[in-house]
């Protein structure tokens, strides 16, 4: 599985939605499954999957699946 697919699967698992719903324009608070409570679990899942530790600013800026890719790349993960 590519790293990008791994990120998509992490979203799918953490938010309990099908992987094909995890598109670039999937946005925070746009579906009931991705609310603030789920966001905490999602961040933890991403950190664990890629063995990285996000800063507070990145946790807050992670407002879409596209943005999540951009942020994860900052931590030297080649998606």
């Amino acid at each position: 599985m590519s790293k990008l697919e791994q990120l998509r699967q992490t979203f799918s698992d953490a938010l309990a939605i099908p992987p094909d719903q995890v598109m670039d324009d999937l946005r925070f608070n746009s579906i009931p499954q991705w609310d603030s409570v789920a966001h905490m679990a999602l961040v933890a899942a991403i950190e664990s999957a890629f063995d990285i530790m996000l800063d507070t600013d990145d946790v807050i800026d992670m407002s879409s699946f596209a943005k999540a890719q951009e942020i994860v790349r900052k931590y030297n993960v080649a998606l």
Binding site: V37, M40, M53, T56, D57
Partner: protein, 357 residues
């Protein structure tokens, strides 16, 4: 999460610049809410008929904070509301209802992040939440405590809850947390009274003392009323925390569900700081005229964040005093505040029996 403008402050703007900046932003908000929230427009016309002429922050119209317990006030269409906060923090048994859209919720989150990062730094820390493990339930309207844990949760990782659903101290969970993160500073967060009763006092009752890692920080808010009833002040609180937990760095914050995000955080010098996004005015409890610095009265809070509901200018039910401007030993700009507690048994009503100064 859309604006790309340079982050402000959060405590960088001198008082004179800040007042001019805020006045323009708050006037625009008043007009926005007047245009988009019919009940707000009616209240303005009734209570503050000359609101259009307000040329100072002190002259701006305000609502009594208790209004959110009686009216459902929104300045955006219902389909844009993504979250409803409920709070029973103000006097009486009714709950406030605060309606947030995506834009306002994001602005609150960002403001809170900038303010808290100013004392905590940018790196997230292992976080012990001093509250019930089942506090956050998806789907329900968020309690003020739940909203606070979510907002402050962004500064933590490996969130661990210190209390069982019945608020009993889960000492095993706390000790496991300490064993796992024994060599890095952690963040402890909770409501002031919950930290006092369910952690500090609970540890005392068991004859237990804990040693949190050096550099750990306790952040707590939610008011002193119940502690004041037990004659516990900030100094005693800090001493007890240092004794029971070994934590030296303790910061109180003052904030409310009706103005989430623009909180007042206690600095190293022990003063509550007004962030760049907000202002505080103290008014005479009887005449409601603005009071000089240092004098104790009713606290009015102004915040540039509330856009989805008309909460940008609120007369609270708290009493306190402005301590200074741009002159705190810690170096942060803006006004510093002392909060003394709640107005005794009073609920200021804006409907008929008070008039603005």
């Amino acid at each position: 999460m859309t604006d790309n403008e340079q982050p402000v402050g959060p405590f960088a703007i001198r008082q004179s610049d800040k007042r001019a900046r805020l006045l323009g932003r708050l006037q625009a908000l008043t007009l926005h809410h007047y245009t988009h929230c019919t009940p707000y427009a009616r209240m303005l016309e009734t209570l503050h008929g000359n609101w259009r002429e307000a040329s100072t922050l002190e002259a701006m119209p305000w609502l009594p904070v208790g209004i959110f317990k009686h009216l459902r006030l929104a300045s955006v269409p219902d389909e844009e509301i993504i979250r409803e906060l409920r709070s029973s923090g103000t006097s009486g048994s009714l709950q406030s209802r605060v309606l947030l859209d995506r834009e306002t919720a994001a602005a609150q989150t960002k403001a809170l992040a900038r303010i808290v990062s100013d004392v905590l730094g940018r790196a997230r820390r292992p976080m012990l939440v001093v509250d019930r493990i089942d506090l956050l339930r998806s789907g329900e309207a968020l309690s003020a405590r739940g909203a606070a844990v979510l907002g402050f949760g962004n500064f933590g990782r490996h969130h661990t809850y210190a209390l069982a659903p019945d608020l009993a101290l889960d000492l095993d969970a706390v000790k496991a947390f300490l064993a796992r993160f024994s060599d890095e500073p952690v963040l402890v967060f909770g409501f002031t009274f919950v930290v006092w009763r369910d952690l500090v006092q609970a540890l005392r009752a068991r004859g237990e003392r804990l040693a949190f890692p050096s550099g750990s920080l306790l952040l707590h808010g939610g008011g002193w009323k119940r502690l004041a009833d037990q004659r516990v002040d900030n100094t005693q609180f800090k001493n007890a925390v240092a004794d029971a937990l070994g934590i030296q760095q303790v910061h109180n914050y003052y904030g409310m569900a009706e103005q989430v995000g623009s909180i007042f955080i206690e600095c190293e010098a022990g003063r509550l700081h007004t962030p760049d996004y907000a202002e505080v005015i103290v008014r005479d409890p009887i005449t409601l005229s603005p009071m000089p610095m240092g004098e104790t009265g009713v606290i009015q809070l102004l915040s540039e964040l509330p856009r989805s509901y008309p909460g940008h200018s609120l007369l609270t039910e708290d009493i306190g005093a402005v301590l200074g401007e741009d002159d705190c030993p810690c170096g942060r700009m803006g006004r510093t505040l002392r909060v003394d507690g709640r107005l005794p048994r009073a609920e200021l009503r804006g409907c008929s029996d008070t008039r603005p100064a």
